[in-house]
């Protein structure tokens, strides 16, 4: 088998085969008596309108799938931005200061595994409104990879670079902007990418609980209206968007890797 065929086999035929298998299994399970999982065909029939007119707005609860996705993305961007704004400086402090690391590390390790489902009620109590609560939840769940990777990046800066700063007696801010940030940038972007993944993961949970319009809210509402086909549509949409976001971020990440 030559290279090109091998490539086709590995990247087109094999994944296609796996996808077909899953769809067949799905069809089989849905045909079992007493299981209310909609079949692939029924799912397509029911979702067609939402996919073919992705930006339509027929009513508050009845909009094209990409329109819902857009609402979700806007919310994610807000929470994600907050995560970066808070997480990056925090990571720098942890990277620069042993004292900070020693005092904050246990706290971070404890807060990091807390589920968004647990943060959201706290957000609602703190902010009384659903949007800020959702943003708070996204930010607090998504910021940890940024914090930890930034700290790791700062700690990994070669002594040689720090010596340049010492020899030239650079001021703190010049050291930060001329040396620390550029040197830590590749690590920071790895953190940014992982954080974005989590932010997207959290949005659905947040929307489900707050009832905000978006893919997550739509999913929950259709569950309550017993339109199960749309649940599958939402799941696939969330997955694809998450994948695309990750690809985009890793392109940016690669750019900084070589710098």
């Amino acid at each position: 088998m030559n290279k090109e065929n091998q490539f086709k086999f590995d990247w087109v035929i094999l994944p296609l085969l796996a996808a077909v298998t899953v769809i067949v299994l799905w069809a089989m399970v849905s045909s079992i008596q007493g299981v209310s999982l909609p079949s692939p065909l029924k799912t397509w029939e029911a979702s067609k309108l939402y996919i073919l007119e992705p930006f339509a707005k027929r009513g508050e609860l009845d909009q094209g799938i990409l329109r819902f996705t857009w609402y979700s993305l806007v919310l994610v961007v807000k929470g994600y931005a907050l995560a970066l704004i808070v997480g990056t400086p925090l990571g720098f402090l942890l990277g620069v200061s042993k004292l900070f690391t020693k005092s904050l590390d246990p706290l971070i390790q404890v807060l990091r595994p807390v589920s968004p489902l647990a943060w959201l009620p706290l957000g609602l109590i703190l902010f009384q409104k659903s949007e800020p609560a959702a943003i708070f939840t996204i930010a607090i769940c998504a910021m940890w990879p940024t914090v930890l990777n930034t700290a790791m990046g700062v700690r990994a800066i070669p002594q040689d670079y720090l010596n340049v700063a010492r020899v030239l007696k650079l001021s703190r801010s010049r050291t930060l902007f001329k040396i620390l940030i550029p040197a830590a940038l590749p690590y920071m972007f790895t953190g940014f990418r992982l954080s974005l993944g989590i932010a997207w993961l959290v949005i659905v949970a947040a929307e489900m609980l707050t009832g905000a319009p978006g893919v997550g809210g739509f999913l929950w509402q259709e569950y309550n209206s017993l339109i199960y086909e749309h649940i599958i549509l939402c799941i696939l949409t969330i997955g694809i968007i998450g994948f695309v976001l990750d690809r985009l971020m890793s392109l940016v990440e690669q750019r900084f890797k070589t710098a």
């Binding site: 040689d160 670079y161 010596n163 340049v164 010492r166 020899v167 030239l168 007696k169 650079l170 010049r174 001329k178 040396i179 550029p182 040197a183 940038l185 710098a259």
Partner: protein, 296 residues
Amino acid sequence: MSEYVLLSKLTKIYETPKGPAVIVRDFDLSIKKGEFVSLIGHSGCGKSTVLSMVAGLSEVTSGGVIIGGKEINGAGPDRGIVFQSPCLLPWLTAMENVMLGVDQVFYTAGKLERRQIAEYYLTLVGLGESLDKKPAELSQGMRQRVGIARAFSLSPKMLLLDEPFGMLDSLTRFELQQVLLELWRKDRKTALMVTHDVDEALFLSDRIVMMTNGPEAEVGEILEVPFPRPRDRKAVLEHPEYYKLREQLIGFLEERAHIRPEKKQMELHRVSMAEVPPTNLGSIDKNQTQPVELKS
């Protein structure tokens, strides 16, 4: 005698799990203004340790360093440093790497003037065409040129060079020795250079300080290099004293580096010949021009 740089009883002790390790003890040296001094010795004897204490990058355990009448305290741009690897910041161009220091030292000068300083030194080292290249686009030799330009552009009180050409092939090394000599001739900076290359030391220095083996390394012997300046490689190699001096250096490194000068009890610190890194020097041929390296 005008002593410009004075290293006085410089001592470095590392605390290790096995107790204190005395790397360098009571290292005394004075350097005149505008003098070029080389420090030569076996690998691991503590040459870099001495240099980085003078640079202020490594803490002095005891003793002190005075430059131009002032005791040093920490690192600073009054000492231009060139290391074995040039330590350029990879995200900055050659120009920006030099400018980083120039902006810092000549903060009172105008922007244009500062650019001119950086450009001047980069052009002198032969990089006039590569100002805007990133280190990754430069060869190792060119990177080291940037390192040299950076050190000189700070207009420092003295230069500190730690095996600046150690990583280069011999052709590039010859070129860069020439570049360094040219720059030094213009600026006459007081310089202290670590090297393990006997020919390099002879070609560049006014005096060569031979260090004894560690631990507790100190100044062994000092060799005056009488070649007239400005020097040119051919004339230096043809100088009647050249091979005598060269053999003196090699003789020290081969035979006497492990012997403690007077005061100390030899038995206690004696390093057996077997422990001295092997040096494949053999007999020295009059026509040999290849540098002899005393690496282990």
